[in-house]
């Protein structure tokens, strides 16, 4: 069973292979995404993050969930030598943490309900669990950043997360915190595979902000692999990436 809904301003897709999957299960996951959006959307005036940004409430007064996200953002900033930063021009936008974490928790909800074979995808970031309907590892295509109707790589994933950061789909939506106003040029797409989507997503975001050095950062991370595409259509692969491209 597969469903797509538009939540958090992007398509969110679920596929559950386990035959007993119910409509209610899908509703539970989608309403979880809605609750995250209600709280963390910087586009919503009444979201908690918007209230924090307007200084209507302090971080101390905010929910535990909000405090956790800020703590995770700070932890990520330190782990990425400052390349991951949720502060842009005085406004706090924790979406770099929130999205990957929401997918991670959505997958947790499904696991807790007993699902063993499924994926959760939101805006091109994926947590793939178990096997697909053909009892193979999930086949994940890396979209061609120069032509959306094409894929340029097929990954075979099971029990891991894959996230792609890119420049131009939302414009320059990733900032280089160390070079304000400097657009990130040279690389157009960076796909990161990791043990879960939360870590894959935040490191993909930070590594993309590093420019060409980003793929070296991923290479240095144990348990993570990366696929970087530059503007000249040349891809660079980390040393262990090939294990995900061979057939299972």
């Amino acid at each position: 069973m597969k469903q797509t809904r538009v939540l958090m301003g992007m398509p969110v897709s679920l596929e559950v292979v386990d035959a007993w999957a119910t409509e209610e299960l899908f509703d539970a996951v989608f309403s979880y995404f809605e609750s995250v959006d209600e709280k963390f959307s910087t586009y919503k005036d009444q979201s908690e993050i918007s209230r924090v940004n307007r200084h209507e409430i302090t971080l101390e007064q905010s929910s535990e969930d909000m405090k956790t996200v800020f703590a995770l953002a700070e932890q990520t900033r330190q782990e990425t030598n400052g390349y991951f930063d949720i502060m842009h021009d005085g406004i706090c936008d924790p979406s770099g943490i929130v999205k990957g974490r929401a997918i991670y928790h959505a997958a947790e909800i499904l696991r807790q309900k007993g699902c063993e074979n499924f994926y959760v995808e939101a805006g091109g970031d994926i947590e793939a669990v178990g096997k697909n309907s053909l009892n193979q590892n999930w086949r994940v295509g890396v979209r061609n950043p120069f032509n959306s109707n094409e894929i340029v790589k097929v990954l075979h994933l099971s029990n891991c997360g894959a996230a792609t950061s890119g420049t131009y789909i939302r414009g320059q939506h990733i900032y280089n915190p160390k070079n304000h106003g400097q657009p990130i040029t040279g690389i157009v797409s960076l796909t990161v595979i990791g043990p879960n989507i939360y870590d894959a997503d935040r490191f993909a975001t930070a590594a993309f902000a590093m420019g060409r050095e980003g793929i070296l950062f991923i290479e240095g991370l144990e348990g993570f692999e990366g696929y970087m595409i530059d503007r000249h259509r040349q891809a660079t692969l980390t040393s262990g990436f090939a294990r995900y491209t061979s057939h299972d």
Binding site: M10, Y32, F146, H232, A235
Partner: protein, 193 residues
């Protein structure tokens, strides 16, 4: 003053010895470097790239240890059991269930600033089953210059379109507003047909 003379002589001898050993070390290092370079010169196009950047890049790798699988998040997942009452407030009206006719509907082309976005909505059993992209912003640069930056351990390839079937696609986050607009048009078509 004279006291120092014998020691100075001894120091001189030691200095010469040190110089000789250092010279030997430097020579060995250079010989090794040349050897390595010649060896790797045979092994593929990556090594043809300048060595200095390889050395600096290698230093740039931070050795980060992350323990991702057991990094539990402190906050509890909101209880969203099937029996929990759903809020009565209508969530995105366009996506409400059961109000569409089965079929494939193509949305309008919407300018996403970086290029046109157009989506196709697939409705099955009265519900939105899939959203596909008909058009998507493309990078217009066609340069095929191959970069020569040396990257240790990393391999490089020109991207190539694949034909294989896939379950899911990973890509950069979509232009949300243009996406929503095009989808809205597609879903409106699904409703009225």
């Amino acid at each position: 003053m004279f006291k120092n003379q014998p020691t100075r002589g001894f120091n001189f001898f030691r200095t010469v010895k040190k110089l000789f050993v250092s010279a030997f070390m430097v020579f060995t290092f250079i010989a090794y470097a040349l050897h390595e370079r010649l060896i790797s010169g045979d092994g593929g196009n990556l090594a043809a790239a300048p060595m200095p950047s390889a050395a600096t890049s290698q230093q740039a790798i931070p050795s980060l240890q992350v323990a991702p699988t057991d990094s539990p998040f402190v906050f509890p997942i909101p209880e969203a059991t099937p029996t929990a009452p759903r809020p009565a407030a209508p969530t995105p009206t366009a996506i409400a269930r059961g109000q569409y006719k089965d079929g494939t509907y193509t949305g309008a082309v919407v300018d996403a600033f970086f290029g046109p976005v157009q989506v196709k909505a697939v409705v099955r059993n009265g519900k939105l089953a899939d959203v596909q992209f008909v058009q998507y912003p493309n990078d217009r640069r066609t340069s095929v210059r191959i970069n020569g930056i040396a990257m240790p351990y990393l391999t490089s390839e020109a991207i190539q379109a694949q034909s294989a079937n896939v379950d899911i696609i990973t890509g950069a986050t979509l232009t949300s507003e243009a996406f929503a607009q095009s989808l809205q048009v597609a879903l409106n078509a699904a409703r009225t047909i």
